[in-house]
Amino acid sequence: MQEREVRSGQFPGSQVRRGQLTVSIAALLGPCALALAQAAEQAAAAPADAPADKPLLNPTRIALLAWLAVFCVLIVLAILLARNGAPFKIRRLAALDAVDEAIGRATEMGRSVLFIPGIQDMNDVQTVAGVTVLGPVARTAAEYDAKLEVPTSRSLVMVAARETVRAAHFSAGRPDTYNEANIYYITDEQFAYVSAVVGKMVRDKPAACFYMGAFYAESLLFAENGNSIGAIQIAGTAEPSQLPFFVAACDYTLIGEEFFAASAYLSGERDQLGSIKGQDFVKLVVAGLIVLGVLLAVAGVARPDHADGLSKFFNTILGG
């Protein structure tokens, strides 16, 4: 299996500016300071002998917060290591390597490229991931001068997608080819949206179809219709119930975490590729914990449903 190597200077791209980091730190400290001030104010207003109403942190979730902090540190550490030139290897993702091929095929055939960013709104992280993948795809389409259509199921997604595609066209040096009318809203209703998009697929016969986002029952409808028109199909979703349909009917599928790593992979930026490596570090920790838990349970030393000392200790640190 081929791998990509991340080295210093290999991927010209932006680094996190000090200004942006400052903004993020301020965003973290601001609410924390406000929460502490609120707690202090309420404590001061309460009578001296009154019991504390609420703890600062939910005691049942402290363990989870600690693990979240550990995982964040691991991911940020990987980003910093990547930025400083540590040689990370990233497994090649066939689905993303095929993006250029798919759009090139559409250009040769004189047909359009269809990109569907899922059927959920921008509050769904899969939609956010889909819109971030749209950026590099739109940039490639602009470079190849291929027509990219993005029918959306939510108005906010239409607005975000327009911004993303416009930025991609500017970035590719083709601001004149950006056409706002190619990114349009259809309807919020699931099957009405599906019938509109499927009708478009059957009439216009796009040569490449991208399904990147949150999908439900309509996944197979899209994929089978795309298959019937002979389009090359690349899908990505984190919906476990829809993955089998995409795997069976599409040419390439990004499964779960691969989908969330897609925007980082396509950008080629050191920082983002480092975060993919950070994901792997976290997975190693989680796998280690699973193995440890299984060994302890099999040995009868500690189990989640037991109340003895060692079981209680592990339940506490694992947030059980």
């Binding site: 959920q120 209703e189 699931q190 099957f191 949150a214 439900y216 029952a217 019937s228 119930s241």
Partner: protein, 295 residues
């Protein structure tokens, strides 16, 4: 038949117009319904657990029933919704209806009329059952209900202030219910009820999930700890209907509690057809390989 025409047959089968497959599937689905075929069902662990969970509650327990689906999924979920409502009402439980789907409200209305009021006309609105209706906000509704129901639903669907509804007197949050039932077609649905409703106070109430079969993979890890009962698709509905009918056969319109079993006939034929198609596809592939090897 000569080797050449056999090869031609398999090659033709490999290129078969998919509309023939669609026609075969249509016949497989329609025929059992027209012939009114019923197959014997043997209730399995999950259907039995669902039945036992409702049976174990003391009569008069408060049940929150969230019908989170729309007409698209009515075919798969309505039978289990009907059986769940009839079971809870027969057991004497008080039911509070709501939905998290904007297109779920008229369906909720129709279900209450067709099942609750037809099978149990003696029940009184406000004391025996209440409809809260739809509230936008997806899983945010569940999250808020886990701590403050009156803040989320200030009135019921008829406009009565929530404090004036006898059934909801003293119910501040989800722990005021003994059981939460979610019949759901997707998002938001059973998973959100477990994650955001059950999570903060895991032992306060039982949760039963009735979902489409395709969601089984996602929700099975929750059974039986976070979800005491689970009904998956038409099969789960058919098994559960059998249990409910044995215990609480309705006097009027009993066929409304047989929809699951009726539709299982179509599922049997459809699954047989799919198995046949898979076998046929593999025979075509093997014949193609043999033809290629012979040449």
């Amino acid at each position: 038949m000569s080797q050449d025409s056999n090869d031609g047959l398999f090659a033709r089968l490999g290129r078969i117009d998919r509309r023939w497959i669609f026609l075969a599937m249509a016949l497989a689905i329609i025929a059992p319904i027209l012939m009114r075929l019923r197959f014997e069902e043997e209730p399995q662990r999950m259907a039995q657990a669902t039945f036992d969970t409702i049976e174990a509650l003391p009569a008069g327990s408060k049940v929150l029933m969230s019908l989170d689906y729309d007409p698209s999924s009515e075919g798969e979920l309505q039978p289990m919704a009907n059986a769940l409502i009839h079971h809870c009402a027969s057991r004497g439980h008080k039911i509070v209806f709501m939905t998290l789907w904007p297109f779920g409200t008229p369906l909720l209305d129709k279900t209450v009329k067709r099942i609750l009021l037809e099978y149990h006309p003696q029940l009184k609105y406000g004391t025996d059952y209440v409809t809260l209706g739809y509230k936008p906000g997806l899983e945010g509704v569940v999250k808020l209900m886990s701590s403050d129901i009156p803040k989320q639903f200030t009135t019921d669907k008829q406009g009565t202030p929530i404090g004036e509804v006898p059934l909801l007197a003293g119910v501040k949050d989800l722990s005021g219910f003994q059981l939460v039932v979610s019949v759901s077609a997707g998002y938001p649905g059973a998973k959100e009820w477990v994650q955001f409703g059950n999570g903060p106070t895991p032992d306060a109430f039982a949760v039963i999930g009735g979902t489409t079969a395709v969601q089984a993979a996602q929700l099975l890890p929750y059974f039986p700890k976070q979800m005491e009962g689970m009904l998956l698709g038409i099969k789960g509905a058919a098994e559960y209907e059998l249990l409910v009918q044995k215990a609480y056969m309705p006097e009027r319109f009993p066929e409304r509690l047989e929809d699951g079993r009726i539709r299982m006939g179509s599922q049997v034929f459809a699954h047989m057809l799919m198995i046949a198609l898979i076998v046929l596809g593999n025979i075509v592939m093997a014949a193609g390989r043999a033809r290629g090897g012979a040449k």
